[in-house]
Amino acid sequence: MGAAVAFEGVVALLDRFPALAGVDLSVQDGEMVCLRGPNGAGKSTLLRACAGLVPVRGERAEVLGFDLRAQRRSVRPHVGLLGHRSPLYGDLRVDDQLRHCADVHRAGAPEVAAAIERFALGGRLGEVAIRRLSEGQQRRVALACLTIARPRLWLLDEPHAGLDTSSRDALDELLADAVTAGATVMFATHETGRSGIAAARHVMLSGGRVEPAAPVPQTTGPTDVA
């Protein structure tokens, strides 16, 4: 089993500010990693760096075998990133958006049908403009697009935010299935108490670095903090 992510001393500057200030991190293929840390710790930047969207420097910066210092663009088709905001076109209908995702990622009708079924986006919902959907419904469409893309590395920033309980369960199940299928999952969250999160290896970030000890948060109850 190889390393999906191999970072040694990785630095990323955002407007001269070192959002990543020497990150050392190794994530194995098929592993699920939960990034934790306070606001501004560098979680979102780390995910974007792994997606090849942020220029990085350092001793070693490899994702899925691609050197991000020289092949940032090459890694992109192999990763799927869902950030804070759902990357959707508000004026498109749900079915337009899913077809666009399928065409971009060269996916077929079976993949689209499976995603529609998994996230309950069929029927009349397919004909609704994305702008008219609730935040949670938009998140489900974004997750369906991610499923259609079939990435080798899943990168999710606060993926549970805005979802209702059943959709959160579906998301946990989706991530578990992705790992079972051999994909690697990294997600950043402030939530505690979900089984999907408990199953992951926890990595703590602070000040743009990975903390040596990553305490696993204790489950305090059934509530989830969005």
Binding site: R73, R76, R85, P87, L88, L92, V104, H105, A129
Partner: protein, 222 residues
């Protein structure tokens, strides 16, 4: 590459078909500019007829600024540009796909503006072929130029004001050559209309060359 260009162009056209921003907002704005010019020139038929070519291109240039802004607003929303990049689309395909969609929308704007010219200013066309060829070259040039500067300003806080500030001076050669060609086609000038149209084509080719060179750096850093 062609497939990727088509994907981006089709997506933008579907968005336009669903939202109809060009038809409902940009076209009326362009027609309104023509009406306002008529008011400003005291509805003087001879004055309006003499300046019809220039007024057409000024109005369409305003439309191009709005179209280019809209074209990249939809990409900035929700980080959609990242979605295209993560789909493995090369920057040139994104740029040309968006430029092609904007060019088609600009042709629509141009058709309505030309109709407005005929109705509001009571002009007579002496050379339809010259109007069509010069118009198509000009619309394509505006679209490419607008797409380039749209990509340059996407995501910037000052994009609303920066885009026209950058785009209008660079589009000036199109404005000048287009006006001269239209003046000939409308019979208000005895100049060499096809020479001005050739100049429009040269400007268009120059914008295309700049687009090829700039697509990577522009959309990589956007």
């Amino acid at each position: 590459m062609w497939r990727e260009i088509w994907l981006v162009c089709r997506k933008d056209l579907i968005i336009e078909w669903r939202a109809r921003v060009t038809l409902i907002q940009i076209v009326p704005t362009v027609l309104l500019v023509l009406v306002v010019f008529a008011f400003a020139l005291d509805a003087n038929p001879s004055l309006l007829g003499a300046g019809a070519g220039g007024l057409f291109w000024v109005a369409v240039l305003f439309g191009a600024v709005l179209g280019a802004k809209r074209s990249f607003d939809i990409e900035a929303e929700g980080g959609n540009l990242d979605g295209l990049r993560l789909g493995g689309l090369v920057p040139a395909a994104i740029l040309w796909g968006k430029a092609a969609a904007l060019a088609l929308q600009m042709v629509l704007v141009g058709v309505f503006a030309a109709a407005g010219l005929l109705v509001l200013y009571s002009v007579t066309v002496h050379d339809w072929l010259l109007i069509v060829v010069a118009g198509l070259c000009g619309m394509a040039a505006f679209a490419i130029c607008g797409t380039l500067y749209g990509a340059m300003t996407v995501g910037l806080r000052s994009a609303d004001t920066l885009l026209p500030l950058l785009l209008i001076p660079v589009a000036a050669p199109v404005l000048l050559a287009g006006t001269r060609a239209f003046d000939v086609a409308l019979g208000t000038s005895a100049d060499q209309g096809w020479s001005w149209t050739a100049l429009l084509a040269v400007v268009l080719v120059t914008y295309i060359a700049v687009g090829w060179a700039a697509a990577g750096p522009l959309l990589e850093d956007a």
